[in-house]
Symmetry: C2
Subunit: 372 residues, 2 copies
DNA sequence: ATAGTAATTGAAAGCGTTTACATATTCGAT
DNA sequence: ATCGAATATGTAAACGCTTTCAATTACTAT
């Protein structure tokens, strides 16, 4: 399409070939294969009759550009269906507007909930989140972090405070702040709670009811500053009353519901006077497994056995009986972590430690021991 | 470290500064604020005594570079802790090695499972995945897709085949392939199953047992090609036998466990001879809610009421009684979707439709109706 | 009107890769 | 040794944006 010559608002006419300049490498509106090329800032600039710098400003700092100009740019951008190339922006600004989060597992509802609210909050702030799971393995986690770092994430959310030492070094080197979640720390920025205290309280509650033989079942405690302290809390509560938690009542299982079923068999296999009268579980999934196996074997919960879970998963309230559990506000953890990380990335280092309070929610799986 | 002169395997000596070349623009190892700058390809090139192009090749197409050179580059890269800047690479190659996926909700275990295996597969292929949830809302989904497209994702995984029409146009424009999941289509590439057939079979199973009054409860069916066909399947099965599914036995609820509880009340509120004798649920969560409410009201499942769920969530097998449900291999969907998308992105358009077969897993919540 | 100041805009230099093209090197066959 | 083909490497131009700095334009108060 050849236009009549006339006043041209842009920097130079472009619909006809300018013989002064060598032929541009590519035809500006279509690819070598004839496909329409996506519009770039330059195209918007030309259509709006401004410079590319102004386009950038109109888009990023609208207040720095005169209203009339801004509108012209916006109109041109809309007309062309212009979409900013975030790789170019990231390269230029050295920030990706992307954050990474690594959870131990997607199989644990509480992490999914936290991830979800973390993501929602980040999204509202204009960030995308790259998520990954470590499967409770430090090496896998490190690998994922390396991947995320290469991807240029601006921040990182991790669960717990035990990680590959190289992780902190690498993050530091890339100047990527880390927010730790689900456990507390006095060295790192974190949003979490005192895992030991949570089960300590639950154990005391059971002890107050008259229970003497408690059991505790958690998933892996290796490199895990949530599960390990939870077990500790139970030990501690008993020790304070001069009781001792029998080693056979202290179980580490692989996580998940079926693991809970196995745990039941191990715990309740011995002679009756040695069996625990109450079990504190590291997750509601484990508790559910235990309840399921108990039901199958005709063991009455809570009469013959009390059970306390952890996390208050969605199914917990509707089990029969409803599961007594330690509720953790995962949404709050996700959201607060996001907010804290946002703060850190903004170089504001005000946020330090956000302490969440777990709550023992009393439902139907706890009763005093049978023979007082 | 100065080596004695002798045979040098590389192209040229590199441990001393070459005075022939002009001094680099910036001090190469530190920033204006004195902070150590992260090494870039140029630094590696200098240390290895090769050009930046060779560094790139050594890293991306090692076979195109002589072994000795390659090793020198690798060594230099390792020594400097060089990490490739993916924004720059994305800008240069016009591909981000990132894919996006949008699920309706993280609250539905089946989507999380699919997402997880999708991610694992993509990760193994060197892709990162950006995930988002639409909360079953087309506008939200469109917005997220726009965000992902701006982010330059190379591919997209979507659940179902009903989306904002603009979505396809935008994706097409950006030349981003889409893989549809959890439902079948004859127009789009997809990995899914026949939702209608799944419940059709389940309904027939109940009908064969002698049930005459079936009910169906699903989450929202608006713009939803999974829930709606599931309801249809039940209608269809009954119609084939000259039966009619009463409108009051056809319920749409908000998803989740509590929604299931509400459904129970509505369904079982009427006089006994009008109540359904079996309920087919759109998800296991709904089924769980129904079972919970039934248990609370002393309605015996399966004697007084049969229940069939959908998805075979992790908790379903351990409920009491264990939930009869339609199992869908979400891992397979995630994995196959990833593989198919990988194919599409590689411009190989061989993969068309991958059909997954749902399976009715018989457990404890189904029995013949009480009075035959 | 007009000088001085503040607010806008534009030109151009990056950001760190990849890659087409040109050049240099290697190697096998004579 | 020597030539040519094949292979390896280097040079430099993108990729599409942001941002500094300078130049221009728009105000404000004489």
């Amino acid at each position: 399409m050849v236009k009549p010559s006339g006043p041209v608002t842009g920097t130079q006419a472009l619909s006809t070939i300018n013989p002064d300049h060598p032929l541009p490498r590519k035809n500006r509106s279509s690819n070598s294969d004839g496909r329409t090329r996506l519009p770039v800032a330059q195209d918007v600039a030309e259509l709006a009759g401004v410079s590319i710098a102004t386009v950038s400003r109109a888009l990023n700092e609208p207040e720095k550009v005169r209203p009339a100009t801004r509108e012209a740019v916006m109109k041109a951008a809309a007309e062309l269906g212009f979409v900013l190339n975030s790789a170019a922006r990231a390269l230029s600004t050295r920030r990706s507007s992307t954050v990474g989060v690594i959870v131990p597992s997607y199989g644990n509802e509480v992490f999914v909930r936290a991830l979800s609210s973390f993501q929602r909050t980040m999204r509202a702030a204009g960030y995308q989140v790259l998520a990954a799971s470590s499967e409770y393995d430090l090496a896998t986690e490190m690998q994922e972090v390396a991947f995320l770092l290469q991807r240029g994430v601006d921040g990182l959310m991790l669960v717990g405070g035990i990680h590959d030492p190289a992780l902190y070094a690498r993050a530091e080197r890339s100047q990527v702040p880390i927010i730790q979640s689900f456990s507390l720390s006095d060295r790192e920025y974190c949003v979490g709670f005192d895992n030991r205290e949570a089960t300590f309280r639950a154990a005391n509650y059971l002890l107050d009811l008259g229970h003497k033989r408690l059991a505790v079942v958690t998933g892996t405690r290796e490199n895990n500053d949530r599960a390990a302290p939870r077990a500790e809390g139970v030990h501690l509560a008993m020790a304070e009353r001069g009781l001792k938690l029998s080693p056979v009542h202290d179980l580490i299982v692989s996580s998940g519901i079926v693991a809970g079923r196995d745990a039941f068999s191990q715990l309740m296999g011995g002679p009756e006077e040695q069996r625990p009268t109450a079990i504190i579980c590291g997750t509601d999934e484990i508790a559910l497994g235990i309840m399921s196996e108990a039901s199958e074997r005709g063991i009455d919960i809570p009469r013959a056995l009390s059970v306390i879970g952890f996390n208050d998963s969605s199914f917990s309230a509707v089990l029969s009986p409803p599961l007594t559990t330690i509720r953790v506000d995962a949404d709050e953890i996700g959201k607060s972590s996001a907010l804290a990380l946002l703060n850190l990335m903004g170089a504001r280092t005000t946020v330090q430690v956000t302490r969440i309070t777990p709550e023992l929610v009393l439902r139907g799986t706890v009763a005093p021991p049978e023979k007082l």
